[in-house]
Homo-oligomer: 301 residues x 2
């Protein structure tokens, strides 16, 4: 049942059409870990700079997140991203990135984490994802995410990674980029051929497609008008999904379907606020209650 998440911890400055928020807590590992920790304990591997406040660690620890795998680099600042969303909150432009040396980050999985059975590798250089994975010795299910940059610059390593993971999370445009198929069903199936047992093709507010060796299925996004900031939707989807799977100890077809429904529900809370503002006020009960409602609205006689 031990779940490990590896990714970035960052500060984000976010412009939406209605509001700008400066230096909110962000990063793939932040969203993943907080979302997953509604379902059970989470182990976190990442790196922060000298500007990362202790209260952010406390927030994690108070929510069942083990932060002993987070490295604190005292000679630099944390990763910083600044972006602006379009009017539909669908696309975004990056206005500024301060990498602060985190591109050379080689995650170290502490001895105490090496027996982690459930592993999520947030988007990073595939060579780094592979090195991280090599440190995990008891994996039952490994899921990774990737982004356009790595498809462009590290495709060979990405293909190697795909041979070594169970599931891939990827968004629609990246699936097209990776496979050269414009049709998303063809793209998803083509990625399956590259190695993983399942592929989750993310389509933002339109939900996702789930590809397994024998099945393709779909789930809509949870329909909500409470959308403040979409940042972190994908990583908290991953958190909800992996948290549910690790907690259930099952990764079969039915469990995966349930897991993506949980992922969609948790993401719907995430986007209702900036940073973790949408997740901090809720509890597992609120998630379960929205899941019941979501299932109800998906039901066809």
């Amino acid at each position: 049942m031990s779940l490990l998440g590896v990714g970035t911890l960052a500060f984000d400055t976010i412009y939406t059409p209605l509001e700008c928020r400066e230096r909110v807590i962000g990063g793939s590992a932040t969203y993943f870990a907080y979302a997953a920790s509604f379902f059970g304990p989470v182990r976190l591997v990442g790196m922060v700079g000298n500007d990362w406040p202790e209260e952010h660690f406390e927030l994690f620890r108070n929510h069942g997140i083990d932060t002993s795998g987070v490295l604190r680099e005292l000679d630099r600042k944390s990763y910083f991203w600044c972006g602006r969303y379009d009017r539909d909150l669908e696309d975004r432009d990056t206005l500024e990135i301060q990498i602060n040396g985190f591109d050379q980050f080689d995650p170290v999985v502490p001895q105490s984490y090496m027996d982690s059975q459930w592993v999520f590798l947030a988007a990073a250089a595939p060579s780094v994802q592979l090195k991280t994975l090599a440190q995990c010795r008891s994996t039952q299910l490994v899921v990774a995410d990737t982004v356009d940059m790595w498809i462009e610059t590290e495709k060979a390593d990405l293909l190697k990674l795909l041979q070594n993971i169970d599931g891939l999370l990827i968004n629609a445009s990246e699936a097209r980029q990776l496979t050269q198929h414009n049709n998303l069903v063809k793209a998803g199936r083509a990625i399956l051929e590259l190695g993983p047992d399942f592929v989750i093709l993310k389509k933002g507010e339109h939900g996702c497609l789930l590809f397994e060796k024998k099945d393709v299925s779909a789930i809509p996004g949870y329909p909500t008008d409470a959308v403040v900031d979409p940042t972190g939707a994908g990583d908290s989807f991953a958190g909800g999904m992996m948290g549910y799977l690790a907690n259930s100890g099952d990764s079969g077809h039915r469990a995966l379907r349930n897991a993506i429904a949980y992922g969609a529900v948790v993401a719907s809370f995430t986007i209702s606020g900036f940073g973790l503002d949408g997740l901090i006020p809720i509890d597992r009960k609120a998630i379960d209650s929205r899941l019941v409602q979501f299932k109800q609205m998906l039901k066809i006689d």
Copy 2:
């Protein structure tokens, strides 16, 4: 159980990234009527020119479509549309339209159709849709479609139409245009406020959102890699939906949910070929069988 469809009958020349097909059978009423007629008889109102071949009428009649309401204008050619799809088969540009006077078409509902209980008004000038509707005297459920042009040029009549119909079909960008809400859930709810009992917000391959007074629900598109030509997807969705509703005699929440699932399934057949090529080879059994599969893939424990 009497179902009436009113719209255009046309020839389409369609460019997709892989193929071009000239002057295939098209038009909103064509797709609607053929799709709906898998579920029961359909009455058709429309207009064609002197170039409309008799075999197209035979095709309709052999599929349970009453064409006695189709006017044949001997002094002009049929409506013609030519368009080109982008590489993802998502967006399209209109390259040519030959209206041939059909903008002045005032549909005449024959005496024998006036008792139609289930009515679909495909996209047309809202003033024309209202005039058509005024000729129907026994309506149980009226659903209309609209497009961007009418929101821009005949908004007052469109708002009047919305007060006189039960359901509206509208695509995502048009819902935003009509309501000035970028969030689709807000947009759908705002349209409900304008009059109809339900709104179906179409999102192409991403499925649709269904808004009712007390509910919002969602359904994904049927995931398929057999996409040849998306033309007619929306109108055959409407046909599958209305055909199912008229045939069941029910338009409550559960029936609507089933109906949009049928709509999605029928549309998935439509887009597998040009014109009616995707629908002509199939029968109701093929639709039911894909619906079972679709329900299965939507199921969450």
